[in-house]
Amino acid sequence: MSTITRSEFRPPYVGVRYEFDANTAETVTSSAPFQFSDDFVGGGHSAGVPAAGSPVAGYPWVKKIVGAAPPTVAQAAGVNAGGLMNNTLTATSEAEEASLYFNDSLQIDTTRIGQAEWRAQLVQAPTGVAQIAIGLGSAWVGGPLNLARYLLFLWNANNTLTIQWKDGGANTGSLTAAPAGGSAIATDGNFHIYRIDWSNPADIGFWVDGGRVNAAASVAWAPSGTNGVFQPWHTCYKASGTGLATLSVDKIDAFNNR
């Protein structure tokens, strides 16, 4: 008989201790004083995501839809526990955006120890000039890399995973995601666990399925004041053309210290 380690704790970082599933690397709980989690279940989601600028009491999300076709942001039934939130562009040749975020209510603080994590799937990897991004961003601007500040996993017109950062000050950059000693990651169409870790706020870690995909100290991060505070960003975007993109997010959780 073998024993499978199902759950382990990561080391405490100044009072924040968190537990993860050892099989999938998915974070399952934390002891952080600030916590947000959404599995996209329940009537609030199935009733439809409110439009940007018109948030609904008790519901954190809004959607930004650009395009006449139109693109969509909507809940779908999950095949496993929980629901899905899908962002989808259409093939119509036009500028399009399908984004999900907190209506510019910035709450997640990357200057205080914590992390944000998504279980997400590229249903349709971006084609043409389309982009898909999940991560953290500042107030809405059309196009994920046009945001004033961000920490993002981003696919740029193909399934090659990149990481992107901009702290609103002296630091910005992009990096092809790759494990230590490995090669660039060509993301397949399955669900994966994407984690942005600021357990050391001066050394942002990007992780996929429990493996770090940026070298230690490769992301310089020194936001000043409230520049380090963000909202979640899930987006499919294209400035023009017929490109396609569909992102499916099964869950997000984020926490940080006070």
Partner: protein, 77 residues
């Protein structure tokens, strides 16, 4: 009897201010330096004696760096 000839001192001051403002307005502010752009991922590049493609690019404190392979150092451009 008041003197109603010559230039009113108040008007003279106003005209002088107008001249100063006109001169100041004529001075063209220097255009801000264009922000350096980051090399795009995948672009061919020759940097620090090495040739390769851009695996990562970043800006730190106004300086541009690139890296050519996973885990490699950032090289100044």
């Amino acid at each position: 009897m008041s003197d109603t000839t010559g230039t009113d001192p108040v008007d003279a001051i106003g005209e002088a201010i107008a001249v100063v403002e006109a001169v100041a307005g004529a001075v063209t502010a220097p255009a801000p330096a264009a922000a350096p752009s980051l090399p795009a991922l995948g672009d061919a590049i020759h940097v620090a004696g090495r040739s390769g493609v851009v695996f990562g690019a970043c800006q730190r404190d106004g300086r541009i760096f690139v890296t050519l392979a996973p885990g490699d150092d950032w090289l100044p451009v």
